[in-house]
């Protein structure tokens, strides 16, 4: 049986892992390659690296980082942040990333998803969505782009379903309202999206306790849970998370 995945997320800025609250107030959490290797050794199922600066200068740094990670990390990892073109996706995959996530560029040019999946296979194309609860339409979320700074009028659930049609192989779904708060995932959001698509959904934003992980999977219907704060700062080890979820009856890779 396919297991549920525990995915530490490493937000990278100026070659350091950082973590903030609601996308702001960044705190230093270490060297990306070292932290990645430590997570790989301690039983993480997968890793996500997000280049949160995503400038032309940071592009080169991130490709270099991907190469170094790939020499030391023997579990799959996804790289994202500012990815705009097929050539960039190709370069990141060739440097050793298993998957590449696209966010703003997919909203602006949805054809990028189709082109990427046709060339590389949909299993390495991750559609990252930053979702914010709509102020005007209860029970709806709006897609935000440019690292969450720019709200659009696109509905998150519709966009996720459309993304699947275009060729995304996975959805990385971040609740901007919950991100960094440690108050739990937005499981209404997770459920709405996981019901609307037949590709895996990674729940992201808000993990603070072991219960939160369980709820994202069981209540939210997520296939995988992504977390940063609770693991970077040593609150829980990966093994503690996995044993807890296994003991509550979920299939885990232990």
């Amino acid at each position: 049986m396919l297991t549920k995945r525990i995915i530490p997320c490493l937000d990278v800025k100026d070659n350091r892992v950082v973590k903030g609250v609601n996308f702001l107030n960044l705190r230093d959490a270490g060297d990306p390659v070292e932290l990645g290797a430590r997570y790989s050794d301690s039983g993480a199922d997968e890793l996500v690296f997000l280049d949160i600066t995503a400038t032309i200068r940071s592009r080169k740094t991130i490709v270099e980082m991907v190469r170094r990670v790939a020499q030391n990390v023997f579990i799959p990892f996804t790289v994202g942040g500012g990815v705009r073109t097929i050539e960039q996706i190709d370069e990141l995959l060739r440097s050793g990333a298993e998957k590449v996530s696209v966010n703003t560029a997919a909203v602006q040019h949805p054809d990028l998803l189709a082109q990427a999946s046709r060339r590389f296979g949909n299993q390495c194309v991750v559609l990252a969505i930053d979702a914010r609860r709509s102020q005007t339409r209860p029970g709806h979320w709006q897609v935000c782009v440019k690292a969450g700074s720019e709200p659009t009028d696109i509905d998150v659930v519709e966009w996720a379903a459309h993304g699947e049609e275009l060729g995304a192989g996975e959805i990385l779904l971040t609740s901007m309202d919950a991100d960094g708060t440690l108050a739990g995932y937005d499981n209404e959001l997770n459920k709405a999206v996981s019901d609307a698509v037949n590709i895996p959904v990674i729940a992201s934003g808000g993990a603070g306790t072991l219960d939160h992980l369980y709820d994202a999977i069981v209540v939210g219907g997520a296939d995988a849970v992504l977390m940063a704060s609770i693991t970077h700062f040593g609150d829980y080890t990966i093994t503690q998370m996995k044993e807890y979820l296994r003991d509550r009856g979920l299939p885990m890779n232990l």
Binding site: L2, T3, R5, F74, L93, F120, Q123, P200, D223
Partner: protein, 202 residues
């Protein structure tokens, strides 16, 4: 020396990194002289089947020659799928036909792609999977799977609502649908086993 065939698809380097990490002399190449010299070949994954087939291009002759010369060949993910007769990903495509069978979509009742760690039953007679006990988790990421129709092939399965082909072996031809280079310690053991199989021929 093991040559990881460079055919312009993703993750070629990851396979080479993992082989080097376990102390294997490995290089990424599509130079016919290097391929001929190699003790074993790896046909890596990550691409759509049609793209991979096209990108492999004339190197398919070299792979066939190596297969005929009884050189161990390990196909990974799409590389594993290329070992079979045909695939229907984005239209019908011919594979290498080294193992009989067809590559077909994972049924839509399941979440597709099959993405993540799944438990693989490890039959004792499959030397590629030796030393790992009766079952272990491996990392999968694919939307198509190989339906083996070859009586001479040994098959290991994983359960994805149906018995999905996780690994196949026919003589010197080995395939894994999962990514050993991304499956942590157990994945590295599979690569060590392949390395040992290649060394036996020296």
């Amino acid at each position: 020396m093991i040559v990881v065939i460079d055919y312009n698809v993703g993750n070629v380097k990851s396979v080479c990194n993992a082989l080097q990490h376990i102390g294997c002399d490995a290089e990424v190449s599509r130079d016919p002289a290097q391929i001929e010299k190699a003790n074993g070949l790896v046909l890596p994954g990550v691409a759509a089947f049609g793209y991979a087939r096209e990108a492999l291009g004339s190197a398919d002759v070299l792979v066939r020659q190596a297969a005929d010369a009884c050189k161990p060949i390990l196909g990974i993910c799409v590389g594993h799928q290329l070992l079979f007769d045909e695939s229907c990903e984005y239209g019908p495509q011919q594979g290498l036909g080294l193992i009989h069978g067809a590559v077909v979509p994972i049924p839509a009742e399941q979440t597709v792609p099959h993405m993540g760690w799944n438990l693989v039953e490890l039959p004792e007679e499959m030397e590629l999977l030796a030393g790992l006990g009766p079952a272990k988790h491996f990392y999968f990421a694919h939307s198509f799977h190989a339906r083996v129709e070859d009586e001479q092939a040994k098959v290991a399965h994983t359960d994805y609502g149906f018995p999905l082909t996780a690994s196949v072996q026919k003589g010197n031809i080995y395939g894994v649908q999962f990514h050993p280079e991304k499956s942590g310690p157990q994945g590295l053991q599979v690569l060590r086993n392949f390395h040992a199989i290649c060394k036996r021929r020296v």
